[in-house]
Structure formats: structure tokens, C-alpha cells
């Protein structure tokens, strides 16, 4: 017997739960001008999140998947991307999407049940949310291939959940991207739960980062509630991908503080006593503590930030609510580049039978 291959998985954290540095920080993490936008973005995402839940409760949008407590992943990853990179997100990635330039009104439109919400005005090439778990990893690998083929210095960045790492799409895509040495970064938001299935039942693998080994690429773990760690590892992986170094996998360990979605009741399967202590690790407080330590943040700034972010949320809600409803024609008009002749009659019928007020009569 001879050992023919050896592998290691490393874990990275810069800030502990109290926001204290556990090791020398990367330069950006000492620079308030770099940190405050991240703090702002996380705060904005969390306030948006809370409002979206409230809107769902009052019937103004449909089911919504909160990212509460996982904001450092979306903001950390998206802030490490360039404009011309492409984000390929899951349904829990509005933090990343907002950072990329998707508007809150667009996000609400989507969750409100309107396809126009995925017609982002800004990140025109970003993928829409993927609901079918892990399918987006394949799309991201394909995007990355396109960039490489055309010699474009762009990176495809994909986010999925811990549950998603059980799905064939994830493995197949990583394996192909590795063979291609395509500029792909895959981030696993390991929030410990896939609806009611805890991480321990999702896989017998002690880390999810080690799934990278199956594809022959690098995998590492980050404290996913430490935005410094997430952003640092994402930056490294994205730079490596951009430089032709191929794909990487980052497992960002976080915790789903809320229900799976507004349609879920986590108390059915998860002891609230398990959740309670996890609040101590949440990312916003942690970065705030770090900023305070750097003397870069004040109560006034906090208050102003919350006010601004809340106003922005409210403006988005208003814009959303003011959006005229889609019409029956919208079911047909973007299905194909041009409406096939065979569909003309159906489109006419749909318009004929459409309620006159354009409303939803469900």
C-alpha cells in the first residue's frame, strides 16, 4: 500500500463573534472606506429582508426566502466581483443581487409573482434566481466556459446551499469546469439547514468544502458570518479564476436564523434553543464591533444608515406596489423571440378571457 494522494481542507476566519481579529487582517479589512459600504449593504439587505417578510404576511408578495443572518455571504461574495462578472444566484441570494445592482423593487416584483422582476435594469447579464436547486451551478460553468473561449477576463460566480451540494448538477458542473479550467467560483452557503434537513443528514462528509476534491479542485471553508473571511476568500478565488487558474469551491459556514421561507415554520423541526445562541455569531453585529474597534463607526452613523436604508426600502415598496399588473399577453410575448403562428389563436383567446380589470381572480 502506498499513499498516492493527500488533501487538506482549510478554514478561514478573521473576525471572531465579537468582531475581534483572530489573525492579521487583509488590507481592506483595516480600511473603513472599504468596510463601511459592506456594512451598509448588509444592513440594507437585512432591512429589505424584514420588509419582504412583512409584505408576505400581509399578502402583498408571495412566498419569500429570507437571508437573515447570511448577509455576509451575499455581500462578501458580490463585493468581490467586477461589474462584468456574472452572478448565478439561488433564491436566497438577494443580498448578493442587491450588491450587484438589482433593485429592491425588482426583487419584490419577482417575489410578488411577476416575471418582470427578473428583467434587471442593471446587471443585464446576471442570471435570474434559480429555484430548482443546484441547476445554476451548471449554468455558471457554461458562462465560465463562454468567457474562457472568448478570452474575456470575466468570472462566473455561483451561490448554492448546503442542500444543493447533494445534487448531481453540482458535482457534474464542478467536474466539467475543472476539466475546462473555466473561470468559475462556486460558493456554498452552508446555513446548516435544507428546509428541515440538518447538515448532518445532508452528507456524511465532515466538510462540504471537501466536495471540491471529487473534481480535483481547491475547496476551502470560511466563517460565513465573517464578511472579511468571505470577501477575502472570494477575492482570492475570483482573482485566481480570472488569471486562468480554474474553478474553486468556498464553503461559507453560516446559520439560517429564520424560517426556510415564509411558507415554512421551523419550530416544527428545529429547537428554538438551538437558534438562540446562533444570534451571537451573526455578521452585522460582528462587523459593527470591528468598525467600532477601528473607531470608524458611531451611533449617529448607525441611526442615519438605518434611516436611509429604511427609506430606500419604503421607496422600493412603493415603486413595486405602483407597478401596473402584467397582462395576459405577457404570458405569450417573450416565450419566443417572435410569436409562432401556432400560438396566435391562443394569445387572442387569453386576451378575450382576461378579466377586464387585469386583476388576479384566484
Amino acid at each position: 500500500m502506498a499513499v498516492v494522494a493527500r488533501f487538506e481542507v482549510e478554514y478561514t476566519r478573521f473576525l471572531d463573534a465579537e468582531g475581534k481579529a483572530t489573525q492579521p487582517l487583509p488590507p481592506f479589512a483595516l480600511d473603513p472606506a472599504a468596510l463601511i459600504p459592506l456594512y451598509r449593504a448588509m444592513t440594507q439587505a437585512r432591512l429589505f429582508d424584514a420588509k419582504a417578510i412583512a409584505l408576505q404576511r400581509t399578502g402583498k408578495i408571495g412566498t419569500f426566502a429570507s437571508a437573515l443572518g447570511q448577509e455576509a455571504i451575499g455581500i462578501g461574495v458580490a463585493s468581490a466581483m467586477r461589474v462584468e462578472d456574472v452572478l448565478v444566484p439561488s433564491y436566497r441570494d438577494h443580498a448578493a443581487q442587491l450588491q450587484r445592482g438589482v433593485t429592491m423593487a425588482e426583487s419584490l416584483l419577482y417575489w410578488g409573482g411577476d416575471e418582470r422582476g427578473s428583467n434587471f435594469a442593471v446587471p443585464r447579464m446576471d442570471f435570474p434566481i434559480a429555484v430548482p436547486i443546484a441547476t445554476q451551478v451548471c449554468h455558471a460553468a457554461g458562462c465560465a466556459y463562454a468567457f474562457k473561449l472568448r478570452n474575456e477576463p470575466r468570472v462566473a460566480v455561483c451561490i448554492l446551499g448546503d442542500g444543493g451540494t447533494s445534487k448531481g448538477d453540482f458535482y457534474e458542473a464542478l467536474n466539467l469546469a475543472a476539466v475546462w479550467q473555466a473561470p468559475l467560483v462556486v460558493v456554498v452557503n452552508n446555513n446548516q439547514w435544507a428546509i428541515s434537513v440538518p447538515r448532518s443528514q445532508q452528507s456524511a462528509a465532515p466538510t462540504l468544502a471537501q466536495k471540491a476534491i471529487a473534481a480535483g479542485i481547491e475547496g476551502c471553508q470560511a466563517d460565513g458570518n465573517d464578511i472579511v473571511a468571505v470577501r477575502h476568500l472570494a477575492q482570492q478565488a475570483i482573482a485566481k479564476a480570472r488569471a486562468g487558474g480554474g474553478p474553486s469551491l468556498i464553503e461559507a459556514i453560516s446559520y439560517r436564523l429564520g424560517d426556510h421561507t415564509t411558507a415554512d415554520d421551523a419550530t416544527r423541526y428545529r429547537d428554538p434553543a438551538e437558534v438562540e445562541p446562533q444570534w451571537a455569531f451573526e455578521p452585522i453585529r460582528r462587523l459593527r464591533n470591528h468598525l467600532l474597534r477601528l473607531n470608524a463607526w458611531s451611533a449617529e452613523q448607525e441611526e442615519a444608515l438605518v434611516r436611509e436604508c429604511s427609506e430606500a426600502v419604503n421607496a422600493a415598496v412603493e415603486a413595486y406596489l405602483a407597478t401596473p399588473p402584467p397582462t395576459a399577453a405577457d404570458m405569450f410575448d417573450q416565450l419566443y423571440a417572435a410569436l409562432p403562428a401556432a400560438l396566435r389563436e391562443q394569445r387572442a383567446a387569453a386576451l378575450h378571457f382576461a378579466p377586464h380589470d387585469g386583476g388576479d381572480h384566484g
Binding site: E115, V131, V197, M331, D360, G362
Partner: protein, 326 residues
């Protein structure tokens, strides 16, 4: 007899069969501790243990594929796919293996699995949660495809599906899960597969539908009845193999047929019924067959879903058109 809604009836049927047949196991995402996202399996893991009510990892291909292995080894797996929009990764195992294991081993191994999944639109669910994929399965030789339209039929047909020695795709209309209750005797009595149920007799036209669309179809029959028109309403129930005898019989009497389904029109199962009428019922037909269906578009997100779904108005209009022909 208990008053049960459809999802409770599903739950009772599963419980009954697990109680009486130790070979029955359930597997799927969130079906154990959580009792299923729709609560179809609520209480079953507590009662029958985590080894028989298996909370799986997130892997639809393997849910179907391991169910094939279990079934071949003598278990009777009932796998749940959480929403039918996530059923496509099972197709390879269902088509290439489950449907043909008996055939390709000339009966040496069999595949008595049930693949359960909620289906259909109308509950304002998120993207990919409102699909009606029955036609994909109904085209596959070796399968049975069943869709109940009431708590009672859910109970009896699910028992029949589990007991059936061959694979059954069992699609449960989400919209009906909690829509209404019915007295259902929890007595383990199965209903027959492979036959339609005539829900209402009538001599003026035949309305054929299945699943949630029977709500609109029966409401349409009421509207017509108020005008003195007798619509016979047939619930397909088993979508494959198709009991055309009942439909042809009915149309032989009524001479007119409107088929109602929620799935996209082209290549939907309504086509198969209409085709049979064109082949074997044409001399009975006094008017063109009509299909009232979902349009050939992606099921829209919530705000347009009721513009997609066939409405009572559309069904009545089609019926009237059919009746205008003399």
C-alpha cells in the same frame, strides 16, 4: 368516518398501508420530522420510525433511483418529490428503469414503486411549483399515472397505487389539498385503477377532466344545468392506461365532448382522448371535440396564474359552442 381533506386522506392511506405492509417505506425531502412541506406525511416518521420514513438528502435523481433498487429488492417505496417542477431529474430512472425492469428481466424483478408529487397551479406558489407534468409520464409504456380529484379518491387510489405490483406516478393537485373535506372511511379499501369515475350523469355533453380542474369542470356543469343542459362529468383518475371505454360510452350518448386540463394544450393528455374520439368515436360526435386547457406557455408566476388556468367561463363557453352545432 372522518372528515378529511385531500392531503389528510393521502396521509391516512400512507399510514394504513405502512401499518399493514412492512414492506412499505417512504422517502423524500422533508417528509420525516417536518411531515412534508404540505404535511402529507405528518406523524408518520414518529409512528413508523426514521428507517421507514426516510428524510433524504436533496437529490431527486437518487430518490427515484434508490427507490428502483428498493423496489427490486421487495420493498414498496413511496417516494415523494416535493413539487412536480422538481420531478424532471427522476425521469431517467422512471423511464429507463422503473417502467421496464419487469419487462427487461422478463418478470424476474419488478418495480412496485410509487412516485408521489404535488402538482398544478393555483396556490400562488413560487416559480417551478405549479407544473402539470402528467403527459410526460402518460406517454411512457410500463407506467401507471394516477391523479385523484377528491379526498375519497385520493385515499382509495393511493392504496391501490401502493399495492399495485408496477410503478405508479401519483400526482396530487396542490390546489385541492385543503380546498374541501369529505367523509372518508379509513378502512384500507382501495379503489380500482385503470378506470374513470363518472361524477355526474348527463345526456347533452360529456365533460372529461382530472385533478383540480374537476372543480371548474363541475362548476361549469352546474352553470349548464341551470340552463337545462345535462353535462356528464368524467374524472379520468387513472391517466395511464386510459379507460377510453367509459368516455366513448358517454360520448356515444351525448355526442359532444369537452376535455379540460390544466397542462399546456399541445401534447397534453387531452390530445390522446380527443385522438381516440377521432378514431373510435367519430360517428358519435355531433360536434367538434373541444379542449379547454392551459395555454402553450410557461405556467406564469402568481399574478397571472388564474389567467393561465382554464376557468369556468372558458369551459362553459366551449360547451356552448359545442352545443350550438346541430
Amino acid at each position: 368516518m372522518a372528515e378529511l381533506n385531500l392531503v389528510e386522506a393521502v396521509n391516512r392511506a400512507l399510514a394504513w398501508e405502512m401499518e399493514h405492509d412492512p414492506a412499505v417505506v417512504l422517502l423524500g425531502e422533508d417528509i420525516g420530522v417536518n411531515g412534508g412541506v404540505f404535511r402529507a406525511t405528518v406523524g408518520l416518521q414518529q409512528r413508523f420510525g426514521a428507517a421507514r420514513v426516510i428524510d433524504t438528502a436533496l437529490a431527486e435523481t437518487a430518490i427515484a433511483g434508490t427507490a428502483v433498487g428498493m423496489a427490486a429488492m421487495g420493498l414498496k417505496p413511496v417516494a415523494e418529490i416535493q413539487f412536480s417542477g422538481f420531478i424532471y431529474p427522476t425521469l431517467d430512472h422512471i423511464i429507463n428503469h422503473a417502467s421496464r425492469l419487469r419487462h427487461r428481466t422478463r418478470g424476474r424483478l419488478a418495480c412496485p414503486l410509487v412516485l408521489r408529487s404535488p402538482c398544478g397551479a393555483g396556490i400562488h406558489a413560487p416559480e417551478h411549483h405549479s407544473e402539470s407534468p402528467e403527459a410526460l409520464f402518460a406517454h411512457v409504456p410500463g407506467l401507471r399515472v394516477v391523479m385523484p380529484s377528491s379526498p375519497g379518491r385520493a385515499y382509495g387510489l393511493l392504496l391501490a397505487a401502493i399495492r399495485d405490483p408496477d410503478p405508479v406516478i401519483f400526482l396530487e393537485p396542490t390546489r385541492l389539498y385543503r380546498l374541501f373535506k369529505q367523509e372518508v372511511a379509513d378502512d384500507g379499501a382501495a379503489l380500482p385503477l385503470d378506470v374513470c369515475f363518472t361524477l355526474r350523469a348527463g345526456n347533452d355533453l360529456t365533460l372529461v377532466s382530472w385533478g383540480a380542474m374537476l372543480q371548474e369542470t363541475q362548476a361549469a356543469a352546474e352553470v349548464l344545468a341551470a340552463e337545462g343542459i345535462g353535462a356528464e362529468v368524467v374524472d379520468l383518475a387513472t391517466l395511464k392506461p386510459l379507460d377510453m371505454a367509459t368516455i366513448l360510452d358517454s360520448v356515444a350518448r351525448t355526442g359532444r365532448c369537452v376535455i379540460v386540463h390544466e397542462a399546456a394544450r399541445s401534447g397534453g393528455l387531452g390530445a390522446e382522448i380527443a385522438a381516440n374520439l377521432a378514431e373510435r368515436g367519430i360517428y358519435s360526435l355531433q360536434a367538434p371535440v373541444q379542449r379547454v386547457t392551459g395555454y402553450d406557455v410557461v405556467v406564469p408566476l402568481a399574478r397571472l396564474e388564474y389567467q393561465y388556468l382554464p376557468s369556468v367561463e372558458r369551459i362553459v363557453a366551449a360547451a356552448r359552442q359545442t352545443l350550438e352545432v346541430t
